[in-house]
Amino acid sequence: MDNMGVFLQIIFWGLYAGCIYILLATGLNLIFGVMKTVNFAHGEFLMLGAYITATIFFLTGINPYLIILLSMLALIGIGAVVERFCFRPILGTGKLNEIFLSIGLIYIFQNGAAMIWTDEWQSVKSPYDGITIPVGSLFVPLDYILIMVFTAAILCGLYLFLNRTTIGMQMRATSQNRKGAMLVGINVERIDIISFGMGCSLAAAAGTLWIVSGQIFNPYMGSIPAIKAFAIIILGGLGSIPGAIIGGLLMGLAENGAAFLLGGIWKDAISFVILIIVLVVRPTGLFGEKGE
C-alpha cells in the first residue's frame, strides 16, 4: 500500500467512526435542542440499542441490519418512559439535578444490563463479515459501506421528518422558542417525549451499527462515546443538527488522523484539543447561534 493508499484508508476509518458519532450526537442534540436537558446517560441508550439488536440476532438469526428498526422502536419506548418519569419531574429545576439524575441513570442502566446480559464482552458476526470491495488501493469492507449508507438514510429520514411533518415542525418550533410554541397551542410535553424517544432511537441506531462493524461490546461501552458526543455538540453548536453532523465527521477524522500521526494514546485527547480551540475561537460552536 502506497502513502496515498494509507492516507485514504485512514480517512475511510475516520468516516466510519464519524457515522457512529453523528448518530449519537444528533440524538443528543435533538433532545437538548427541544428540552434544553443535559443527559449524560445518552451513551447508555447506545448500549441498550446494541444489546437489543444483539439479543434479537442471537435468538432469531435475523440480519442485524433489519433489526436496527426494531431496536430503534424499542428505544423510542424506553426513552419515552425515561423522559416521563425521570426528566420531566425535574425539568426547569436546574442543570445540577439533570446532571445527577443522568449520572444515576448511567449506573442503573449499566448494572441492569450487566444483570440481564452479564458484563462479559460480546460480539456479533455480520452476515457480510469478510466481504470486501476493492476500491483502488483500498480494502473496503461491505459492512462499512452499509454503515455509511444506513447513517445517510437515517439522517435523510430525520431531515424529512423535521421539515415535512407537523410534529417535526412543532419540534423545531419548540426548539426555537418553547414559550412561543406553548402560546400557539403546541403541546410541548408531548413534543418533549417524542424528541427524547427519537434521540434515544438514534443512539440505538449508533449502537447497532457499532456492533455490526465487528466491535466488541459490554454494558460499559457507552460511557466514552457519550462524552465524545457532548464534545461534538459543543463543537458543532448546541442544538444544531448540521453542527452535530459536521462535528461528528470532524471528530472521526481527527481521532483517526491523530492515532496515525501522533499515536493511539492521542485518539481521545485530540477531540478535546479541537473542542478547546473551537471554544476559544468561536464559543458558540461551528454552527451555534448566540444565546444557545
Binding site: Q9, W13, D119, G214, G264
Partner: protein, 437 residues
C-alpha cells in the same frame, strides 16, 4: 420532642450496626481469612471472575483435605472474602481497604492489571499485610522503590520474562520459518511490529522486547511500535499504519478483550495476514471464542491453558484442576485463574509453615518458602520467591492456534520449547511475509 426521639433512634441503629461490624471483624477460631482481590465488574470482569472462582476451587480442596495446621496443633479452615476492584484504580483501592480494615483478612491473593494493582500497593505497605499477586504482570509491582513492597510477593511471570521468552521464540522458530518460506538467507532481519496497551503492562512488553533484541544482538528489527488506550475497541488506524510497514509478525501487548478484536480487524478489515503473537493473559476461553476463524495461526505465550496441557509432570494436576472447576462452574479456568488457584495454596502453605496468622511471621514464611510445583511448570519444579524482588520463576511455553470449524472457535497446541511441545510451529498457507529483503 420528635427530633430527640429520632436522634436517639439513629444512635441506637448506628450502635447496632457498629456492633455487627465489630462482630464480623473478629476472626472465628479455626478460620483463616484470605482476601481475594479480583475484577468482578468492569472491562476485566471475565478474567477477574475466573480468578475468584479458581480461588474458591483451591479453598475447597484445602478445606476438604483437613485445612491448615497451626503451631498449637489446631486445624484452621480457609474462608475466602472477595474484593471487587471494578477494573479501576479507585475500585482497587476501595476493595483493598475494605478487605484489610473491615474484613480483617489475614493475607491477600489476586490482583489483575498492573495499573489497578499498583494503585493500592501503598495501602498494603501501610498495613503490612502479606499479598500474593497472581495477575498483575508488570515488574513494577515489586520493583518500585517509592513505597515499601516487602510484603508483596509476585506469583506470575513479569512482562520482562514473557517479553523475553516471546522474542526468543520469534528468533529461534518464527524467523527461520519465514526465511525458509521466502527463500531468503538465514541472516535476513525479521520485521517485527508492536501494538501495545499504553499502560505499565503494555509498555513493559515493549521494553522487554527492545531489551532482549539489544542484549542478545538478535536479527530482529522493530519496524513499527504503535500504542492504544486501555479498553480501546477500534484499532484499524494503528493496524493500517502497521500494515504499511510490511511486518513479518505483530506482537500484541493487549488484554483478551483487546487482542481478539485486534486480530479480527487486522485480518478481516485490513487484510493484514500475518502471525499475531499474544501475551499469556489471552489464554482464556472467551478469547478462543471471540477470535474465531481469524485466530488461525496466532501464537499465545502461556503457562496454563483451558484447552491444552504440556507434555510432562503437571498434565495430570492441570486436568484435575480443570475438572474440579468445570464441575463447579460449568466452564474452564484460564491462566490467571490457575495462578490464583496456586496463590491460595501458597497462602495456606505459608501460614502452615509460620504456624500462625501473624503478618510478619507469615511474610517471613513466604520469603523462606520452598514448595513443590502445583499445576504450573516452575523452574526446578519448586515454588519459591527470589530474594531480591520476591518473584517466583515459571517455565513458559508458546501455543499456536488452529480453527475448529465444528466448534466455531480456535484451539491451541504447544509448539515450543522442545521439552514441553506437542507439535511443531507451522506458517499458515495464507501467511504473507513482510518483504524478501
Amino acid at each position: 420532642m420528635k427530633y430527640p426521639v429520632i436522634f436517639i433512634a439513629i444512635l441506637l441503629i448506628t450502635a447496632f450496626f457498629a456492633g455487627c461490624t465489630q462482630q464480623q471483624a473478629t476472626a472465628a477460631p479455626g478460620v483463616i481469612k484470605i482476601g481475594v482481590i479480583a475484577s468482578l465488574t468492569g472491562p476485566a470482569s471475565n478474567v477477574g471472575t475466573n480468578m475468584w472462582q479458581s480461588a474458591q476451587v483451591a479453598a475447597d480442596k484445602v478445606n476438604a483435605d483437613g485445612g491448615v495446621t497451626l503451631k498449637d496443633g489446631s486445624k484452621a479452615q480457609l474462608k475466602l472474602i472477595v474484593g471487587d476492584d471494578e477494573s479501576t484504580q479507585q475500585g482497587g483501592q476501595k476493595a483493598a481497604t475494605k478487605l484489610i480494615t473491615d474484613d480483617k483478612v489475614d493475607i491477600l491473593v489476586g490482583g489483575y492489571s498492573s495499573a489497578v494493582t499498583s494503585a493500592y500497593e501503598q495501602t498494603i505497605a501501610e498495613y503490612k499485610i502479606p499479598y500474593i499477586v497472581t495477575g498483575a504482570s508488570s515488574p513494577i509491582i515489586t520493583h518500585r522503590t517509592d513505597i515499601d513492597t516487602s510484603y508483596i510477593f509476585h506469583h506470575c511471570p513479569t512482562t520482562d520474562t514473557y517479553g523475553q521468552y516471546t522474542t526468543m521464540f520469534i528468533d529461534q522458530v518464527v524467523r527461520p520459518a519465514v526465511n525458509k518460506k521466502l527463500g531468503a538467507s538465514a541472516d535476513r532481519p525479521f520485521r517485527l511490529a508492536l501494538l501495545y496497551q499504553d499502560t505499565a503492562f503494555g509498555k513493559g512488553i515493549q521494553t522487554a522486547v527492545n531489551d532482549t533484541i539489544v542484549k542478545n544482538n538478535l536479527k530482529i528489527i522493530l519496524i513499527s511500535q504503535q500504542s492504544f488506550r486501555m479498553g480501546e475497541s477500534d484499532f484499524r488506524t494503528q493496524l493500517t499504519a502497521i500494515k504499511a510497514t510490511n511486518p513479518d509478525a505483530v506482537y500484541l501487548g493487549a488484554f483478551p478483550n483487546e487482542g481478539a478484536p485486534i486480530i479480527t480487524q487486522a485480518r478481516r478489515d485490513i487484510g493484514l495476514n500475518t502471525i499475531f503473537l499474544n501475551a499469556e493473559n489471552n489464554d482464556n476461553a472467551q478469547f478462543y471464542k471471540d477470535v474465531g476463524q481469524y485466530g488461525e495461526g496466532a501464537i499465545i505465550e502461556s503457562r496454563f491453558s483451558p484447552y491444552t496441557a504440556p507434555a510432562g509432570a503437571v498434565a495430570d494436576s492441570q486436568n484435575m484442576f480443570k475438572q474440579s472447576y468445570f464441575t463447579r462452574f460449568g466452564a474452564y479456568p484460564d491462566m490467571m485463574g490457575a495462578s490464583t488457584y496456586e496463590g491460595v495454596f501458597i497462602a495456606a502453605k505459608a501460614i502452615a509453615n509460620a504456624g500462625t496468622t501473624d503478618k510478619a511471621t507469615v511474610r517471613q514464611a513466604l520469603v523462606d518458602l520452598k514448595m513443590p510445583q502445583i499445576i504450573e511448570v516452575m523452574k526446578d519444579q519448586t515454588i519459591s520467591f527470589s530474594p531480591d524482588f520476591r518473584e517466583s520463576t515459571f517455565d513458559l511455553w508458546m501455543e499456536q492456534l488452529s480453527y475448529n470449524a465444528t466448534l466455531g472457535e480456535t484451539r491451541p497446541v504447544i509448539v515450543w520449547p522442545d521439552n514441553l511441545k506437542t507439535t511443531d510451529f507451522t506458517l499458515p498457507s495464507w501467511y504473507m511475509a513482510g518483504s524478501s529483503s
